[in-house]
């Protein structure tokens, strides 16, 4: 077995054991992470492999969700399928709508393709609240998970295992797809469409096919969300969802199969954990995206690949100080930045400004942050983030220097090796 296989086996075993260690709230967060991972992976097929940047993938996710909720409510609430098979309805819903939308949008490529997908998604989003019978208006459609196959599906753990099984199956299928001749042709679609056409392939048909597969798996993800939430609302068609799958995919890395899965899981957990702590969490999410795009264009997965490459070039022992310095710099800059943002946000908030102006003494009341009271007028308060940021920047410079020295050493070693061994050309 290759190390990758052992790693994957370990992850699957850990995921299987997860519910016995976590609170129901965290198990539910894990469900959301799995669903986001599947959605991002389905999106990656279209965006990463076929090179078609879609800005409206929420449409297929949402169609899958509504197909599932109506399947659950069919036949007087007993359901069209047993509960564990419900996401199949999502696959059909997402795939069918994907065929319709894909037929039109894949007639164009690049920016035009992106704009058409965006237009179709917005069309659905604008239309949905008016079709009350289908999309339930503002209150949405609600359903109940029925017991099936000896399970009640009443507890979060049972839903977790159902979601895990579906996500594992779909990710395996998506991976196997990349190994098929069709999967290789998908890459060709990204690299050189003209050449494919010249070789006699029907590129429009091929693009529709990829689009439908991607939409179908997005629909499964939507169906899983509905099975978990037992409700669907037209808000699912919101551009916010289309944007977040793009962000997740790019943050994770758009060139590697596991990248979007990693990005989506991490960002979903980030939203779950941080949104209750601070109302500025969207700012952090955006800042993270910008930083990843600026310094790691291949995403988080690309970072691991880069570190692996450096390890084989410089050796593990020489790389450890660099990794420690870089981690330290990241933590300090992150801590300093978060402190400054949280402090400013509290200081500039309406509530605080009103309290301060009501204060007769004319002094600034202290602001509570990280279990301490800070006075906004004291220079010491602002010295904390300034020190953290400066120290972080210092460590970052050191890390760069260390890396440069490693590269120089490698070059001088190579030069020495070339000098000591007479060249073949001689």
């Amino acid at each position: 077995m290759k190390p990758v296989h052992i790693l994957l086996l370990g992850i699957v075993l850990a995921l299987l054991a997860l519910p016995s260690f976590l609170t129901p709230g965290l198990v539910n967060a894990a469900i959301q992470m799995l669903i986001a991972a599947l959605f991002a992976s389905a999106y990656y097929l279209l965006c990463g492999q076929a090179g078609m940047l879609s800005f409206g993938h929420a449409a297929y996710f949402g169609m899958g969700a509504f197909a599932t909720i109506h399947a659950m409510n069919a036949i007087g609430g007993t359901g069209l399928l047993p509960t564990p098979l419900m996401p199949l309805a999502g696959a059909i819903g997402g795939g069918a709508f994907g065929f319709f939308a894909g037929y039109f949008s894949t007639k164009r490529t690049g920016t035009y393709f992106a704009m058409i997908t965006l237009a179709i998604a917005e069309l659905v989003h604008a239309l949905a609240p008016h079709l009350k019978a289908l999309f339930g208006g503002e209150a949405g459609v609600s359903a109940t998970r029925m017991p099936a196959w000896g399970f009640t599906f009443g507890s979060t753990n049972e839903v977790y295992y159902l979601t895990l099984a579906w996500v594992a199956l779909c990710l395996t299928l998506l991976y196997l797809y990349t190994r098929t001749p069709l999967g290789r042709l998908t890459l060709g679609l990204r690299e050189n469409t003209h050449r494919l056409r010249f070789l006699g392939y029907n590129t429009h048909g091929l693009a529709i096919c990829v689009f439908v597969v991607s939409a179908m798996f997005s629909g499964v993800a939507g169906g899983l969300l509905v099975v978990s939430n037992e409700a669907a609302n037209y808000v699912l068609f919101d551009a916010h969802l289309s944007a977040s799958v793009v962000l997740n995919t790019y943050i994770g890395g758009v060139r590697v199969f596991l990248g979007p899965i990693l990005g989506a899981s991490l960002m979903t957990f980030f939203g779950y954990a941080v949104s209750d702590l601070t109302q500025s969490w969207l700012l952090y999410q955006g800042a993270l995206f910008v930083l990843v795009m600026m310094y790691m264009p291949n995403g988080l997965a690309g970072l691991f690949g880069q570190i692996g490459q450096w390890r084989s070039r410089f050796g593990l022992a020489a790389l450890i100080p660099f990794v420690l310095l870089a981690l330290g710099a990241g933590l300090l800059v992150g801590g300093g930045g978060a402190f400054a943002i949280e402090m400013l946000q509290r200081f500039l908030s309406q509530d605080y400004q009103a309290l301060a102006s009501a204060n007769a003494a004319g002094t600034w009341p202290p602001i509570r942050l990280f279990k301490h009271d800070w006075s906004p007028a004291a220079p010491g308060t602002w010295l904390v983030p300034a020190t953290l940021l400066t120290a972080g920047a210092g460590l970052a410079v050191l890390a760069r220097q260390w890396l440069r020295r490693l590269v120089q050493r490698e070059e001088s070693n190579r030069a020495a090796a070339e000098a000591s061994v007479p060249g073949d050309a001689a």
């Binding site: 129901p24 503002e138 939430n229 808000v235």
Partner: protein, 413 residues
């Protein structure tokens, strides 16, 4: 017996002893939109819940312990609310509050119903502070959902009665609303009020929600209809742009708008807002010792006088606080079913008058105030020289709307 065993036994006994004396504190949870573009309203509901939880704790808490408030950000949508409800329940929250958006209220209400059905003995209760869609107390009503705010028929009735009394209503009314459950409820209420308001609805319009940038075509329609009064449930940009367009067109018309007091509205609308009417749950200039005390206490804690939905959130939760006084702990914890039954018969004296809960559909019966935008108002809005001048206060029974026939509530035995 060896000494260490005695020590261990003693420790176990102490642990059990403290466990009994100090049961887990009662937890309130707010699951509202606390970040993103729609967060301003959610944060006001949070102010209300913080105020009431502090109030309970300054009066000795519940069961001899301070109660806790846990805050969850639903990230602006029903799906996020469903996640955060599960998180809240797993954190031990028993009383859930929310108010911004009927869509989110519907999700939480349904999820609470299903959770309670599957987990008897571990019920939670949902206090809906502002999801005004009628179906939540109609076909979707259930035993563990309580709406402590008003609804479309109540607000319209209060507004129509006052405007008629003031002689500004006229006989031609134009109804313009957003095309979703709330706007449709409002339109129905405006049509239904025509009989006692003595007016005719000359035209009804339902338009897209918060998407329209230019209301001038609608204003042209209003002008053509010769309406004297425009009634609307619009909020946020839809209200603001509608009023601005009517000013730009020189339309001589009076507005009756129930969300006119949303912070920022008056500042944005400017002089256009003068002379328009509103029905709301509280007006800070109401002259009574209770109102003055409430305004003083609230301002001291929050830095501004209670406005927009803060009073309805606060007094809705005060109703829960009052009910809690009459519920004893069972084995150190709250029995939510007992609380819900007690809540059905609870009455409090809110600043505007008596407030109670109707058992049949869990729709709170609360007094309403009707005010007009004026420069003579005592409390100015948004730093302008305008504010809401209080005209009239209605007792709950004067404006109550009947129980909807679609509500079939299942009660626990």
């Amino acid at each position: 017996m060896k000494p260490y065993r005695q020590i261990a036994g003693g420790l176990v006994a102490m642990y059990l002893g403290t466990g009994m004396a100090l049961a887990a504190p009662l937890k309130f949870g707010i699951i509202d939109t606390l970040s993103g573009p729609q967060s301003s309203t959610g944060q006001l509901y949070r102010n209300a819940m913080r105020f009431v939880v502090d109030h309970i704790n300054s009066n000795g808490g519940w069961n001899g312990e301070p109660v806790q408030l846990l805050e969850y950000d639903n990230q602006g949508g029903p799906a996020g609310a469903a996640d955060k409800l599960k998180a809240a329940i797993s954190d031990g929250v028993q009383i859930v509050g929310q108010g911004a958006s009927s869509a989110i209220s519907a999700q939480i209400s349904e999820d609470v119903r299903k959770y309670n059905m599957r987990n008897p003995g571990k019920e939670v209760v949902f206090i809906n502070m502002g999801g005004d869609a009628l179906e939540l107390t109609g076909e979707k009503c259930h035993f563990h959902h309580f709406r402590v705010s008003g609804n479309a028929p109540v607000k319209i009735k209060a507004m129509v009665l006052t405007m008629k009394e003031e002689g500004v209503l006229g006989t031609k009314v134009y109804s313009i609303n957003q095309n979703y459950s709330w706007g449709q409820d409002m339109e129905q209420a405006i049509v239904d009020a025509a009989s006692f308001g003595g007016y005719a609805v000359v035209e009804k319009t339902l338009h897209d929600t918060n998407k329209i940038q230019d209301f001038s075509p609608y204003v042209a329609k209003i002008a053509a209809s010769k309406a004297e009064t425009v009634m609307t449930g619009n909020w946020s940009n839809d209200l603001l742009l509608l009023m601005k367009a009517s000013k730009a067109a020189g339309l001589k018309v009076r507005f009756g708008a129930v969300f006119l007091d949303q912070p920022g509205n008056i500042a944005n609308a400017g002089e256009v807002a003068l002379g328009h009417y509103i029905a709301h749950t509280f007006n800070a200039e109401h002259a009574s010792p209770e109102s003055e005390k409430f305004v003083k206490d609230f301002t001291a804690k929050m830095g501004h006088f209670p406005q927009f939905i803060e009073p309805q959130g606060t007094w809705g939760m005060m109703l829960v606080a009052e009910a809690l006084k009459n519920v004893k702990a069972e084995k150190g914890v709250l029995n939510v079913n007992t609380l819900a039954k007690t809540l059905e018969t609870t009455k409090i004296k809110s600043p505007l008058g008596e407030m109670s809960m109707r058992a049949a559909d869990h729709q709170a019966q609360l007094p309403f105030a009707v005010s007009v935008v004026s420069k003579a108002a005592k409390y100015k809005q948004d730093g302008t020289d305008m504010g809401f001048k209080l005209l009239k206060v209605y007792r709950a029974e004067e404006i109550a709307s009947p129980v909807q026939a679609s509500c079939r509530m299942q009660r626990p035995n």
